[in-house]
């Protein structure tokens, strides 16, 4: 059973999102997603300053087997990326909600966050997929 923290929001495409004190949001991939992808060996992060729209492919995570797009759960501007993943992509496998975060963005519409899935709804979705 994968870990799905209750305080986070989720996109149907397996990204998680956390609201930060400074008004930005942190984004990564879920525990369920990292387990499905397997050992990650490369992460391509977006450029800082890039404007992304909702559901736009803006990062790539690659496991030994395959490359997968990561989609922006909400629209906004990329304000930080996790540089440590360049040398240690396995942090996403080991700690998907902590050291394995991928980027931070400043949402252009904060209300959009509320429309994402909560933990229970996301869990129901992955239960249905299995």
């Amino acid at each position: 059973m994968s870990n799905t923290p209750a305080e986070l929001k989720y996109a149907p495409t397996h990204e998680w999102l956390r609201r930060e004190q400074d008004g930005t949001v942190t984004v990564g991939i879920t525990d369920h997603a990292q387990a499905a992808l397997g050992d990650l060996v490369f992460v391509e992060v977006p450029e800082i300053g890039r404007q992304v729209s909702v559901e736009e492919a803006c990062a790539v995570v690659e496991s030994v087997k395959a490359a997968s797009d990561l989609y922006a759960p909400v629209a906004g501007e990329i304000v930080a990326v996790n540089e440590a993943l360049a040398d240690a992509p396995e942090q996403i496998n080991e700690d998907p909600y902590g050291a394995g975060w991928i980027f931070k963005l400043r949402p252009s519409d904060e209300a959009a966050i509320d429309k994402l899935l909560d933990a229970a709804a996301y869990q129901a979705q992955i239960a249905e997929e299995d």
Binding site: G38, F42, E44, V60, V64, K65, A67
Partner: protein, 360 residues
């Protein structure tokens, strides 16, 4: 409905993530593909490869038949127990399959063919055999590959008496039979080890004994990265019916001599050899960060000249490697296009890893 091997339940109990591979429900990994890869390079791992098919050829004309069917020459198998790698071609030189052929006692041979091509291979062999005194018999055995620097020691410790002595004396690329139990010193990982073929009922007890001896179960994921590091082609990816051995870096497996031996595809292959094959398969290394994948475009001096057929992160090397099929004349600065970014490729001669050590 997917087919299952006799070890299906054992895989589930071991926590395998199962995938559809050529119509078979097979283990991709049992938790970590990278760890399984490492175990094979450094210690000992095992693979259920029972989806691959054994096909026995027997009869008065067995040798003559296979000398005509295969591009390599079974006459080179000068003693029972010897094995040979060969392509089986169609009339135009296209590769129908790649296989291992073992010479057994008497005028008998055993072919081990790929799962995806097994049915077509058997039909092709049986059709061609009509003109010979040769019987083509598919066999339903279980096949377990035990591979790694400690593989021989572990397997030998489980054998007794004559079986142990014979297996211990096996040279590389040789095999021995004990009734329905077949031990071959072959594999698909670049490491030493054995491939064990046995009746299906014996598969799970053997698998369990190997596990108890500390052998790590490994999935098809690790099998793929191990074979790529070892510079071994994968049928359906690095070659298929639209490629000849000369375009798949397998010219060395074609026995041109003796010149009077005709084999299926020979005339077409000779024409290609004389005129020059239009494409070739090369080994490439990506020194920049990123992962090579099949079908990425390869460029030479900025111009597209082919594509990757295999590509992956190579766990032993910590960087990406692959095979690329490019125009034969392409010489210069090679690059790969990864999602619109062009990164330099270094051309190397496989294997990328030799006996567990980097070779690039």
């Amino acid at each position: 409905m997917l087919q299952r091997t006799p070890l299906f339940d054992a895989h589930l109990r071991a926590g395998a993530r199962m995938v559809d591979f050529a119509g078979w429900e097979m283990p991709l990994h049992y938790g970590s593909q990278l760890e399984e890869h490492r175990r094979v390079r450094e210690d000992c791992g095992m693979f259920d490869v029972s989806h691959m098919r054994a096909v026995d050829v027997s009869g008065e004309d067995g040798t003559r038949f296979l000398r005509y069917l295969l591009a390599n020459d079974v006459a080179r198998l000068d003693a029972p127990g010897r094995a040979l790698y060969s392509c089986m071609l169609d009339e135009s030189g296209g590769i129908l399959d790649d296989l291992l052929v073992y010479r057994l006692q008497g005028e008998r041979y055993r072919l081990i063919v790929n799962a995806a091509t097994a049915e077509a291979d058997i039909a092709w062999l049986q059709r061609q055999a009509a003109a010979y005194d040769a019987a083509v018999t598919p066999r339903d055995y279980a096949l377990i590959a035990v591979q790694g620097p400690r593989a021989r020691e572990v397997v030998l410790s489980m054998l007794e008496g004559d079986a142990r002595g014979s297996a211990e004396r096996l040279a590389r690329f040789a095999a021995v039979e004990f009734g329905e139990f077949f031990v071959a010193r072959t594999g698909y990982t670049g490491e030493d080890g054995f491939e064990l073929m046995l009746p299906q009922a014996g598969a799970e007890p053997l698998w369990t004994r190997l596990r108890e001896a500390g052998v790590a179960p490994c999935g098809l994921g690790a099998r793929d990265t191990l074979r790529l590091e070892a510079g071994l082609n994968l049928y359906g990816q690095d070659m298929n019916r639209d490629t000849t051995p000369l375009e798949a870096n397998l010219g060395w497996t074609v026995a041109w001599e003796p010149a009077e031996r005709d084999f299926v595809g020979r005339a077409a292959l000779e024409r290609q050899r004389e005129g020059g094959a239009p494409r070739r398969l090369i080994g490439v290394v990506l020194d920049a960060k990123g992962v090579l994948r099949p079908h990425q475009t390869v460029l030479v001096d900025g111009r597209p000249c082919g594509e990757l057929t295999s590509g992956s992160f190579a766990p032993t090397l910590g960087q990406a490697i692959g095979f690329a099929r490019v125009e034969s004349g392409a010489e210069g600065e090679f690059e790969v296009d990864i999602r619109g970014r062009r990164l330099p490729l270094r051309v190397v001669k496989p294997p990328f890893v030799r006996q567990g050590r980097p070779n690039i």
